[in-house]
Amino acid sequence: MSFDTATWIQVATFSAGGLAMGFGAIGAALGEGYTAGLANEGLSSRPEKSGDIFKNMLVGQAIAESAAIFALVVAVLLLFLDPGAPYLLKASAVLAAGLSMGFGAIGSGVGAGFPAGQACLGIARQPAVSGTLTTNMLIGSAVCQTPAIFAMVVALLLMFTDFSSMPLAPTWAALLGAGLSTGLAAIGSGAGGGLAAGASCEGIARQPVSVGNVTTTMLVGQAVSQTPAIFGLLISFILIFSAFPESAALSAAMAPLGAGICMGFGGIGPGLGNGLTAEQAVRWVARNLENTGGLTRTMLVGQAVSQSTAIYAMVVSLVLIFVI
């Protein structure tokens, strides 16, 4: 049973489109559900503020939705992609694009739900600062979206770069690795950044004077949470733009694929862990304003240790790409 190259590319693009939208829908739906749940909780305690809470809920959900919209755009582009002159490497590239966008949208969608939900609950608790809460929610959830944007950048690069001059083996594996690296690593960073942002909205509602310190600590914590996704993006770029010498050996293909899988999975845990640490630091900065310095220091030390496993994963990936 053998098919021509154009058929394989069609099979890959349609599978990739399905994977991108299927996986990409998980996170946003969960995040928006969480937001709506907390909005209802807030409404029940302060029904007279229903207008503000409802408006904030919709704005927050719209941001969480953007991760799924990225996935939708990539999926539709894949479905109607003009394959051009068919070459077999294209099949691998589009499949990797779908995987990158699908996995990459999960974390950001879930993450953006936390600040949106906590802002809704916060408006019910402290209606006087609803403007501050909405602004803080927007900043926090915008940062949560960056891992999904990284995943989209990698997906578009994989779809529209011309790889026709590259050797099929082992470039097919490098491209799949590139998609998995950013896609999987984005899961942890997106959700982790969201945890920090959620705690900041909750804290501001509890103690509105703390807004300056809380937002600063949130941004620092989120920035550290994003680094595993940046490592994933770095490995993806290296895998996409390196010219691997032609080799039919299976091991030459497994090295770049292993590198991508290593950095992808390796970024999930540290991203989430950094977010967990930042969440509690932000939460307690709001309650204990004069202790901001000590809490930020402890947060950064704790995050640095948690980050080390992502650095191990990056080292192993780089060894797989450059040394082996």
Binding site: G188, G192, P228, A248, A249, L250, S251, A253, M254, A255, L257, G258, A259, G260, I261, C262, M263, F265, G266, G267, I268, G269, P270, G271, L272, G273, N274, G275, L276, T277, E279, Q280, A281, R283, W284, V285, R287, N288, N291, G294, L295, T298, M299, V301, G302, Q303, V305, S306, S308, T309, A310, Y312, A313, V315, V316, S317, V319, L320, V323, I324
Partner: protein, 82 residues
């Protein structure tokens, strides 16, 4: 396409190294984050004990880190020794 046994073993060791370090990094990353999160909570409640709490956090994280280091060791063994 005939693949030699030794070639298959080499390919599996490279992919295995990636899987070992990649999957092995999830647990310690989340675990150390939980330690850090509880340490921040405790310092928030009781800032006077910040030194003791940071020390305990680091020791706890170091123990949690050990599984990540096992993964790294296994990955490097798969890459360079096996």
């Amino acid at each position: 396409m005939a693949i030699e046994g030794a070639e298959l073993v080499k390919a599996a060791s490279l992919l295995g190294a990636g899987l070992a370090m990649g999957l092995g990094a999830i647990g310690p990353g989340v675990g150390e984050g939980l330690v850090g999160s509880k340490a921040c909570e405790a310092i928030g409640k009781n800032p006077g004990e910040a030194g003791l709490l940071t020390r305990t956090m680091l020791v706890g994280q170091a123990v949690s880190e050990s599984t990540g280091i096992y993964s790294l060791v296994v990955a490097l063994l798969l890459l360079f020794v096996v």
